[in-house]
């Protein structure tokens, strides 16, 4: 029973990993589409290069790119100094 459960968890994580890779690939494709809107062919070429290197060959680098960009551009860092004082133990 435990074995089956564990296998299922790994399988689920595997699916989630593929889903994440798809999201990262879409992020790079979207970047190429936004920046090279004047040429569909160039968009495909640049997106292919980015996805080949940053999703297929080095997925961790691509993931860190997406996470770092989200961290910088979302405003999560503004929130940290607001949230942290609530976590500080009172004297």
């Amino acid at each position: 029973m435990n074995y089956l459960l564990a296998a299922n968890i790994w399988e689920t994580l595997g699916y989630l990993w593929w889903l994440w890779l798809f999201i990262v690939a879409y992020f790079f494709y979207n970047w190429a589409r936004e920046h090279l809107a004047f040429s569909p062919l160039l968009t495909l070429a640049v997106a292919a290069i980015l996805i080949y290197y940053l999703v297929i060959e080095y997925p961790l680098v691509g993931s860190m790119t997406l996470l770092g960009w989200t961290l910088i551009s979302s405003g999560i860092l503004y929130l940290l100094p607001m949230v942290l004082p609530f976590l500080k133990p009172r004297k």
Binding site: A32, H35, F38, V46, L50, L77, L80, L84
Partner: protein, 152 residues
């Protein structure tokens, strides 16, 4: 040294990442050129070719310039907000003051004023600071009076 080539292939990784970065930089330059020269296709074409020459012949310089441009010109406002409202408060939270020296002076003055209002004794350093700032104030007043004096 050889294991760097064999096991982790760090140099291979770096060269591939460099190529990817160059592609991103070239795409970004093209984007910028298209925004500026979209009315004139000949200008856009010629400037793209020149940009490609720059990216191929001077990759490190071009990459550095584009990265600096994106960081300080495109994301500059965002970077400033991030430092002012994200990083500074975090430093303050961890007990590190990263204020401007003039701000520190103001804060010290406020602390001294508070102490005086509460009737507490000032320390030697604080008295020195007060004397110095009063002296500066007097000099300033003298300058102002000199300036305000009606000319004969």
């Amino acid at each position: 040294m050889a294991f760097l080539y064999s096991i982790f292939d760090i140099f291979g990784f770096l060269s591939e990442m460099h190529f990817v970065l160059q592609v991103i930089v070239f795409a970004y330059i093209l984007y910028w050129l298209y925004i500026n020269f979209r009315e004139n296709q000949i200008l856009f074409g010629l400037s793209s070719i020149i940009a490609a020459y720059f990216v191929i012949l001077n990759p490190i310089t071009t990459t550095t310039l584009v990265v600096l441009f994106v960081a300080f010109a495109v994301m500059g406002m965002h970077l400033q907000m991030l430092i002012q409202f994200g990083v500074y408060p975090l430093f303050r939270f961890f007990g590190m003051e990263l204020e401007h020296p003039e701000m520190a002076e103001q804060q010290q003055m406020q602390a001294i004023e508070k102490k005086l209002m509460e009737g507490k004794e000032l320390s030697h350093d604080e008295v020195k600071f007060l004397e110095k700032s009063q002296q500066r104030q007097m000099e300033y007043q003298k300058h102002v009076q000199q300036y305000m004096r009606p000319s004969a």
